[in-house]
């Protein structure tokens, strides 16, 4: 038996993130690079550590290789501990057979033994694909104060966007009275952030019941939460006021990166009291040449910049050659933008090469019908040939020959 923990976290990191297209062909969504040197999963992991949670189970299923390698023994997040620490939990074979994680609730259900080892009072269930800085210990204090069975983190979203979210109707005491999943006419703008705090005894019972229930999709949002609600358990909404973004789509991932450059957006990664940790290798400082111009951007270690960068997030070891222009774009580690190439409103995945003179992406102001506009994505290791043009909204998984119009 391990040492008893008051609260442990279970991090759902098994989703494919199919809406991210080629960015998640070979890696799970939580392993997608974000913010110049991070991966999405660094946010919930760092939040855990900064909140005093030192035991985290990471539930993986889809393409776990990169994620497993990235998390390793958890040392970058200070999660290599004598007791607890970070554990990768993949589906496994049992006496009664083996099965994949059928849903988010089933993933936790299959790891009841893992949780029981720590005999926790509370379990936080988190998503591995959100960008936010949140103190779970405050949420836990709220949960205890309300003597809740389940607390759901919630934030107020603009009314016009509310119908995209799972919404909650909350009374004055913070009790959740009703749920609405992406309603056409929202009656609330309080959206669930997919961050849950449970009293483990309760959750454990509901997970077992849910597993036995025929036809259940074994999902937290669709099955377990409604079941608890219908049974009249004490369910509370915990209001969060900071920055939070689900980076499930190409556009939202692109936006969330550029949000880091917007002084009006409340996500400060320089704050030493709430560091976001990441697995970093030692890289030389980046070099900006005498001919380069860099404006309003994030640039990471090991980069070599001779061209022009404006309003972009540039990851480690990227080369931007002379006369190349990078605007409103996200350039992931190891990519090369050659002489005179233009990259605009685009995401360039790891180690891709944009040959000289190529033009990737399109300025939305230059497109007549905005419905045809979108962020252009170049997949990992893809080569875009000399003087090739890649249109807005395109998603390129294979090399493009020089001069080709696409």
């Amino acid at each position: 038996m391990s040492k008893r923990k008051e609260c442990i976290a279970m991090l759902l990191a098994g989703g494919q993130g199919s809406r991210l297209g080629i960015l998640t062909h070979n890696i799970a969504k939580p392993a997608v690079p974000y913010g110049g040197k991070y991966r999405i999963i660094d946010f919930p992991l760092s939040n855990c550590v900064n909140s005093g949670i030192d035991t985290v189970g990471v539930l993986t299923q889809y393409q776990p290789l990169a994620l497993n390698e990235y998390i390793g023994n958890g040392q970058p997040w200070d999660l290599d501990r004598l007791d607890g620490g970070v554990h990768i939990l993949s589906p496994y074979q049992q006496i009664k057979g083996s099965e994949w994680y059928k849903g988010t609730a089933n993933a936790i259900y299959q790891n009841i033994n893992f949780i029981d080892r720590y005999d926790p009072e509370y379990v936080a269930v988190l998503s591995g694909d959100h960008i936010y800085k949140m103190d779970y210990s405050e949420m836990l204090a709220f949960h205890k104060e309300k003597n809740a069975d389940c607390t759901i983190a919630m934030m107020e979203v603009p009314w016009e966007e509310a119908s995209r979210f799972g919404l909650m109707l909350v009374n004055d005491e913070g009790v959740i009275t009703e749920f609405e999943e992406k309603p056409k006419n929202p009656r609330s703008n309080k959206a669930s952030m997919g961050v849950y705090m449970f009293t483990w005894k309760k959750l454990r019972a509901y997970l077992i019941a849910d597993e036995e229930k025929e036809g259940s999709s074994n999902d937290f949002g669709k099955d377990v939460i409604p079941a608890m609600h219908n049974a009249g358990e004490r369910m509370f909404a915990y209001q969060f006021d900071g920055y939070w973004k689900d980076v499930g789509t190409i556009d939202s991932l692109w936006e969330a990166n550029l949000d880091l450059l917007n002084p009006n957006v409340n996500i400060d990664l320089t704050d030493p009291s709430w560091r976001i940790y990441a697995k970093n290798s030692a890289l030389p400082p980046h070099f900006v040449s005498a001919d380069a111009t860099v404006q309003n951007s994030l640039i990471s270690g090991g980069c070599f910049v001779e061209g022009n960068i404006d309003y972009s997030v540039v990851f480690s070891n990227v080369t931007v050659e002379e006369g190349a222009n990078v605007r409103y774009s996200i350039v992931m580690p190891g990519a090369t933008i050659k002489k005179g190439a233009t990259v605009q409103y685009a995401m360039i995945a790891e180690d891709a090469v944009i040959e000289s003179g190529a033009v990737v992406g399109e300025d939305p102001e230059k497109i007549a019908d905005l419905a045809n506009w979108g962020v252009t994505v170049i997949g990992a290791n893809v080569n875009i040939g000399e003087n090739a043009t890649v249109a807005a909204k395109a998603m390129i998984a294979e090399d493009v020959k020089g001069g080709d119009a696409k």
Binding site: N280, A282, L283, P284, P285, F287, V288, T293, G301
Partner: protein, 372 residues
């Protein structure tokens, strides 16, 4: 099984006095260099990249910041169950005195460490030569030549340092004549103080030196044996400044703004490892203007930076102008401040509107923690 059979020895305090200001709060090995490193990182990484997995770091004083930097050796992959990083501070008052004789005393103080190691070879190095050298190739050379001692040298300006070995005559790699100069001038084949030999040979040379009351490793051990032993010289053609003064420190830092030198020192196949901080990428504000500079993670740049090396976590405020400067970690240059040819040690703050300027032959040095 071990990766190879070589023990690394690093003299972390060698030539402390030539960077008097910078080494007041630290050892030579922990002097910041190159925008993100400490001097010891280069030689330590060279060793690790050659597969060496046991390194003793000999230090005599001012080693707190060095200990803090090295920790358990994890960033260099030297936190091992077997072998790994050994920190070798002085043990007794008597030992402390012996460090005055430089490398010889330092080695004599650590004979027990040598004895307890079972590696066949030893490579010894100072920290003030900044380079990325393939030590594997040095060992290949050492074995191929059937050498007793291999010394790495480079052709260039003779460093103004005491007791430096100069290779006067070399034939097919074999050192025929050597001499010792102090505060030398002109150009020559200068040893960079990376020396390879069998551990058993080093031990017997040390015993001999103790018996004869020798006082200098260079003069009484290496130079004395140039004709008795097979001494070979391995020429290093990489970027390799030897820091012998604040001026060479200043010049070597700016030499790194040359892309060819960056490629040599930061060769992708042999990375330079260092303690990593969890800083965010550099934030370039609207209106920032950066030219020909190296900028490390964690900086926020809103002002103008030209021909400079900026370490991690510095802030250059709007309308501040920084030219030809080296700014070590956590520096803060407030709005309207104007710096030219300055070296700011760690944690220096320049308040708004202040102007400081040195000359490229006489940089202004601001000690750790100063507020102007």
């Amino acid at each position: 099984m071990r990766a190879n059979n070589i023990l690394g020895i690093i003299f972390a305090n060698a030539y402390d006095n030539v960077l008097a200001g910078m080494t007041a709060p630290r050892a030579m090995g922990s002097v910041p260099f190159g925008g993100g490193y400490r001097l010891i990182d280069f030689t330590l990484s060279n060793m690790v990249n050659a597969g060496i997995d046991k390194v003793g770091v000999i230090t005599s004083n001012n080693y707190q910041s060095l200990m803090d930097h090295l920790g358990n050796g994890k960033p260099w992959d030297l936190a091992r169950k077997h072998d790994g990083l050994f920190f070798l501070p002085p043990f007794t008052a008597q030992e402390l005195e012996r460090y005055n004789t430089g490398r010889l005393g330092a080695l004599q103080n650590n004979e027990q460490f040598l004895q307890m190691s079972d590696e066949e070879y030893v490579v010894m190095s100072d920290c003030n030569a900044v380079m990325n050298i393939d030590l594997k190739d040095v060992f290949r050379f050492h074995k191929e030549k059937n050498a007793d001692i291999t010394m790495v040298y480079r052709h260039g300006v003779v460093p103004k340092l005491p007791n430096r070995l100069i290779i006067d005559k070399i034939s097919d790699g074999r050192v025929c004549e050597m001499s010792i100069v102090s505060n030398g001038e002109g150009e020559a084949n200068c040893a960079v103080n990376i020396t390879v030999m069998r551990k058993s040979l080093l031990e017997s040379l040390l015993r001999e030196a103790t018996a004869s009351g020798a006082a200098s490793f260079e003069r009484d051990v290496l130079l004395k044996n140039v004709s008795n032993l097979r001494v070979f010289g391995y020429e290093c053609n990489e970027f390799c400044p030897i820091i012998d003064s604040i001026q060479t420190y200043f010049d070597a830092s700016f030499a790194l703004l040359e892309p060819a030198n960056q490629k040599s020192l930061f060769a992708a196949s042999r990375p330079i490892y260092t303690k990593v901080y969890d800083d965010m990428p550099v934030v370039y504000g609207l209106g920032s203007d950066v030219k020909n500079s190296l900028i490390a993670d964690g900086c926020v740049i809103d002002g103008q930076v030209e021909n400079s090396v900026i370490f991690h976590n510095c802030r250059i405020a709007k309308d501040a102008v920084v030219k030809n400067c080296i700014i070590m970690p956590n520096g803060f240059v407030a709005d309207g401040a104007n710096l030219d040819c300055c070296i700011l040690d760690k944690d220096v703050t320049i308040r708004s509107g202040r102007t400081l300027s040195g000359a490229d032959t006489y940089p202004v040095y601001l000690a750790k923690g100063i507020r102007v």
